[in-house]
Symmetry: D2
Subunit: 154 residues, 4 copies
């Protein structure tokens, strides 16, 4: 009998190598802008968080849609990024997102930025499902959990 | 005999319809980001200036390179934008740049943002050539002027 | 008999010296951020448009509030900026906004950025009053026009 | 005999409550901007990383200056943020930075954003000291280590 309790999913967190393109099925393509550069002449750390955000928003909207009948939303509770290489302008990068863990009222996403096959940054984002009225976390709705579990294991 | 004095070029400014794709030969492709949206849910006016800047930087670097032997740089002296239509996320836009006028120590660029063939914004940027040591405007170097005149008439 | 028709207000546009602090009664205080710098090490032209926007939003919200009973909003139709001096990090600047002209369905704002008393940039923003349903420009509501005229002449 | 080896300093990481103003002696004051808002009407997660960066840059420049005689620089290797509360516009926030751990070639900073005394976000940044020529991490120079150890224990 499969154990579908949230805690049973803990531990998947480290099961994926976030630095490999092959760990992801979802990517957004991002064009670098002159405004992404900082005083030091490379793409600034803040631009990476913007790419992470954009990929995450598209992933949540397109792949993990919340039921429209319920007044729920995702909020970002935690973000971590490992900066692995300098990124230079101009050019394009891919921003990858996947599910790496399911919790009771949140989903842990793994993310990375790739230039070609080289991972220039990777990290995690914890998205909590909240009731928009109360602003408090609520359990993942059942229909969403089904999708998330499928995405976790694919 | 062609008059190549700077003042002779005044008046070209309005000779181009900046809202037509066919007025341009140079474009950058820009991917919209969630961070470009503002509180009102459309792409913010600031994002347009970022696209203008990126297209301008690529144009100046790739099409109007300053002689490397001289310590010169372009600085932005004036920017104007007409906002013509709302721009919605997600998607891509093209940012177009061309020469519209030559002055003694500056070049007037015409710019626009296109979504498909629709012009959502257009405007002008006046780029002054400065001596990097003094920070003061200097006449366009002759080799640059040749290129700018060619681009103006094409 | 005073002529209060919109066209009568045309021409005020150039009546104010936008480079003087004394031309303004409304300022926002803006702290510079490392992220405002560009590759060249000075505050980027885009940051100026962000300060202009912030000052404009506070001015429109606090000084020129639209009647809440009507479904109206301001949209930016035109922005122009003259860049007058380099701006260096770190520090603070003031962003000034005032009315410089009244039109039938729009208000022309004069804006500037000051570091101390030195004007590092100035320009104009044309804000059109639209009906939020149709997205089309509508005449300034009478109660707003009264306030705008008062602000124009002060 | 005091153990000053880098590993001896491991473990301090969790010795500070990053959510308390009293854990910090260094703050930058940040004015919120309309451009910091996202589609949802609150200050976007990206703006928090901009405040963290600004506070970090000032802290490193003013409190932990690298010896000018050596070609060294700090680079950001890791960033993590816990988002603890919504942040609303307009207003001001304080961005706090302190040392929380010393490693062989890096310094771990603790950071937080406060609105009044309320901590709306906190996190860590790992800054690696690199040789600018090679781009590789190098041990903290002795004179810097002395300052960092003093800041760690204060």
């Amino acid at each position: 009998m499969p154990d579908s309790s949230p805690t049973a999913r803990r531990g998947w967190y480290n099961a994926f190598d976030l630095t490999k393109r092959s760990s992801y099925a979802f990517f957004t393509e991002e064009s670098l802008r002159f405004a992404d550069l900082d005083h030091n002449g490379h793409v600034n750390n803040v631009a990476f968080t913007i790419f992470f955000e954009n990929s995450r928003v598209r992933f949540l909207t397109d792949i993990l849609p919340l039921p429209r009948t319920k007044s729920m939303g995702f909020v970002l509770a935690h973000l971590s990024i490992d900066y692995r290489a300098q990124l230079y302008y101009p050019g394009n990068v891919s921003a990858a997102t996947r599910v790496v863990e399911i919790r009771n009222s949140s989903v842990v996403l793994g993310q990375a930025i790739f230039r070609g096959d080289a991972c220039v940054a990777c990290g995690h984002a914890i998205m909590v499902v909240i009731d928009k009225q109360s602003g408090k976390g609520v359990p993942l709705p059942a229909e969403l959990r089904v999708i998330v579990e499928e995405k976790l294991s694919s």
